[in-house]
Amino acid sequence: VRFGFALKASSYLVVASALLTLVLSGELGPVQVALGVVAAIASWFRDRPPANLARWVRAWTILSVVVFAYSVVAFLAGTDILIVGAHFLVYLLVAKLFNRRECKDYQQIFILTFLMLVASTVLNASLSYGALFLVYGVAGTWAMILLHLRRELEDNLPARAGAVAAPGAPRPEIQRVLDSRRIVGPRFLLGTSAISLVVFVGATVMFLAIPRIGFGLFFNKRRDGIALAGFSDRVELGGHGLIKDDPTVVMRVKIPSARRAAEQPLHWRGVAFDGYRGGRWFRGARAPRTELSLDYGGGRTRVHLRYAWFGELEAPERAARLERGLRQEIYLEPMGNDVLFGASLPTVFEFDTPNPRERAGANDELRHPHGAGVRYVVYSDPDSPPAASLRAARGDLPPGYEVYLDVPEEITERVRALARDVTRGAATPYDRAVAIEDHLRSTYAYTLRMEDPGGREPIDAFLFERRQGHCEYFSSAMAIMLRAVGVPSRNVNGFLGGEWNEYGDYVAVRSGDAHSWVEAFFPGVGWVTFDPTPPGATDRLGRGAGLLDKLGRFADTMRLKWFQWVIEYDLHRQLSVFKALRDTFGGGGGTSMRDRMAAGKAWLARNRAAAGGAAAAAAALLGAIGWWRRRRGGGVGAAGRAAARSAVDAIYLAVQSRLARRGYPRVASVTPREHAAALRRAGAPGAEPYADLTELYYRASYGGTSDSADLLARARTLRDAVLAALREAPRRRASR
């Protein structure tokens, strides 16, 4: 491979991966994305600026002003600053790609791509980021090494006298090396790939090891959820069209495998409604609210749902319920709402954050504001109590539960009559509920095709005319019929079942698994789940055995791992990793470490301002020390400081760096004396005193004489002469 081509190709690979992380976030405007991608591809074919450089530069300047103005307008119009910034980054990258000539341009391209990667950390948290980051890392290692070699060549290959380069093209001797095929061979690519692999292993180790003591000083996580088609925070009957199956995984649940063997699909309860009016379920203002009790420990928060019929539970009873319950570890994708799900009925939610943001909703819902997906643990009681105890249930309704008996007036008489007919002969509320469930399951058909009932009451239309519908019709009908025969009930929305993923040992719940069912209340026992939808229609547990299905499940496992180990990797997981390592490599004790770390994190969370202030003060102090040291060094860079042995050296190096800033740098292949001579030939400002100063420098450095006061005084005079000449001369664009 030609050296120049290898550099170009690896740089474009870097550009492509960084650009794709932004594009795949789906947050950028489609027009901007299309323009950016097309322009970036087009820039590949444009290696050199055209002959008319001045016009070319002017065109880009005008374009930059236009794009900047557009960005400002877009921002003022209310577009998110991050999106505006990302769009502008794409533009800058394209502009730079069209104007790449020197090493410096390539460096700036790398910086831009890195900024894109940084922006994507907020915009794109999907697995695609991880995959593209891998590409970026490998290609970046190649590109950085090649760029470094090219730079070194430019610095060290002595300019050949008489060789003239075309405008905008590298020097002929550099071009010769760029065209050479001897530098980048398969061995080089293999070697550097090995390097990037090592870099990645190192990055992984660092990622896992860097302590997660984040305390969110200025920002909070920000990621917009996507409103999903399947699950909805409301239920509205009616509508028209075909409900499409959506295979997007919205929730992944780790459950004990014993439970999986039961093959009984679980109902993942999300929201519940008490009121029904005009074909729409809602949460009434009088809907009972669940009280929560929180307990903290080990850096986690446990939220106990205090269902009204339980009364106040004592601590041992709480622990016992926890012990009995089904433990589910849930990874919830962002869904555009803050509903938490759990197998019916959840009793305890557990979070790894010490600061609770949970809110109890009406009808025993639990909400937890999260924008970026969340991991939590739920303990539930998924099994219905034995039929005997349900039949025996009697007693008063808890206060406020009358709303669950409310049958709106619009419900037609024949619906109420049907409810009574179906439950004739059923002695207890439980038997009535079972009878209605059986009737709906056996008499009506399931369909995903919706039909608008027009002006008719939807439940009536479903039960007597259409006689088929989707799960919301079934659950609505049952809830209303239960109320008609005096059984408190509510409509529940969530997901049913899910697909077992054999690679990751979890249940993947898809958007298409959204479901609606009914909960009926039995005094003294509690809410019990009934699902009147015909079972055949809802049986989505079947798992495909085809290669594509398997691949799909494997990809989903990768997604979960990415979420588990990268996106949601936190102090607790980190501690568990350390603990596992410690257990593997021996050693014991120190169990309180976790608590201590958690306590430290809690302290940080409480004293955010103080900690932030201390960090800022430390940074400012470091900066001040650095500035002071730099001042004392007389503006000499680190290179000068290391090499400067005498005051004359220091003066010479300071003047040299000043000249470099004004566009007259000395490259490594040129000796100070040659540099001075070249400046004199070029008629650079201050070239004469600089040449004299250079001679003094030689005397001080290689002449063996020590700095005398006289020599130093002369050096200072010459320095002032050079600086004065530089001040008077017009500025020249720094270039090499």
Binding site: M144, R151, N156, V205, F207, R212, A638, R645, D692
Partner: protein, 381 residues
């Protein structure tokens, strides 16, 4: 005192770290970005930023390890030119061996360390494949004559990413004798001239056979040595041990007062340069040249090899005081020139009967580049 100082300096050199690390400009930016990402990561708790941070840190570590590997197993040799004069550029050849078995060394810079600091020009090697040697050379100019200590080499590399400059010092002690500068110069008129005698300026045919050399325009054709001419294919002439008037003694007064300033020091250096130039000029026209100085002397002889002896002595000539006498006997029959570093007539204690005196002074007015040495010739009767 000096012995102890050298032990100390050697000890210090031992203690000096073998490897040094310095940030480049890009490296400083890189470090700054890493810090910023680290701050952002801690601040937001965004794990993807932690991932970036881990990668950046890992790049830094890998960069250190790779530059180390690149610098390891390198051997450097030098080959100096036969004669090095002060103030005259010379070319030193460096050869770098990569003794590693598998790994190429990339982007290697080699600097010669002279008297503890690198010379102004470095040699660059883009790639040295394993088990091979590559050569490069650097031009350098020593400003002062004398014995220069070559400590070794500083091998540096910015490989792989140009974020850091890692350097390693390789000890390769050596010495380089830098001769005084020799300028083209006309020797003073021969003594015979001044005494009214007329002699030819060409080498005579009398005296004892000295050596064979190539024919130069103006040589006496009778001196051609035909047998060696036939053998060599070029005209060769016999040279004869010079007679009295073909002998010259260059005297130099290397005495300086104890409180001499830089200017006086420079004047002495200039005097030594003039003495060397004189000796070279005399030798070039076939004279036998002797050198006399306080505490040092070279007996008279002719031929190119003798120039090396004279220059060597002048290169190492140390400053003395008036108390130190001139060494050797002045050959009063031949020409003689005394070079003194400053005005004030003949140097005290100089042998009597010197033919000519040259005063060497250096103008010290700024700017230093224009510090033109001025040699004033004063003829003494």
């Amino acid at each position: 005192m000096t012995a102890r100082a050298s032990v100390l300096s050697r000890l210090l050199r031992r203690l000096r770290p073998r490897r040094r690390l310095r940030l480049t400009r890009e490296g400083r930016y890189f470090l700054f970005i890493t810090l910023a990402i680290g701050l952002a990561a801690v601040n937001t708790g965004n794990n993807l930023l932690y991932l970036l941070l881990g990668w950046l840190l890992s790049v830094i570590v890998a960069s250190g390890a790779m530059s180390d590997m690149s610098l390891r197993g390198l051997r450097v040799h030098r080959r100096a030119p036969p004669r090095v004069h002060a103030g005259r550029p010379f070319v030193m050849e460096l050869a770098v061996d990569n003794t590693k078995r598998r790994l190429s060394a990339f982007s290697i810079e080699v600097e010669e360390l002279v008297d503890g600091r690198p010379v102004d020009k470095r040699c660059y090697f883009l790639k040295i494949p394993p088990g091979t040697t590559q050569r490069a050379s650097y031009r350098h100019t020593f400003l002062r004559r004398g014995l220069h200590r070559l400590d070794g080499f500083r091998v540096r590399s910015k490989y792989p990413f140009g974020l850091f400059v890692k350097s390693r010092d390789i000890d390769a002690p050596g010495e380089l004798l830098v001769y005084p500068e020799v300028r083209p110069m006309r020797p003073p008129a021969p003594r015979a001239h001044r005494l009214g005698e007329t002699t030819t300026t060409r080498a005579g045919r009398h005296g004892e056979f000295f050596a064979l050399r190539e024919y130069r325009a103006g040589d006496d054709r009778r001196a051609i040595h035909w047998r060696s001419t036939a053998r060599r294919g070029a005209l060769m002439v016999r040279e004869f041990e010079q007679e009295a008037q073909r002998r010259a003694t260059v005297l130099i007064d290397n005495a300086l007062p104890v409180d001499a300033d830089d200017a006086a020091d420079d004047a002495l250096e200039e005097a030594i340069t003039i003495a060397a130039s004189l000796a070279a000029a005399y030798l070039d026209i076939g004279y036998a040249v002797a050198l006399m100085a306080r505490g040092a002397a070279v007996p008279g002889a002719a031929g190119p090899a003798h120039l090396t002896r004279v220059l060597g002595a002048l290169a190492l000539l140390a400053r003395a005081t008036d108390a130190v006498p001139f060494r050797g006997e002045l050959d009063r029959r031949g020409d003689s020139v005394l070079v003194v570093p400053r005005g004030g007539g003949g140097a005290a204690g100089a042998p009597a009967g010197v033919g000519a005196v040259i005063e060497a002074t250096v103008a010290v007015a700024a700017p230093p580049a224009a510090a033109a040495p001025r040699a004033a010739l004063r003829e003494v009767g």
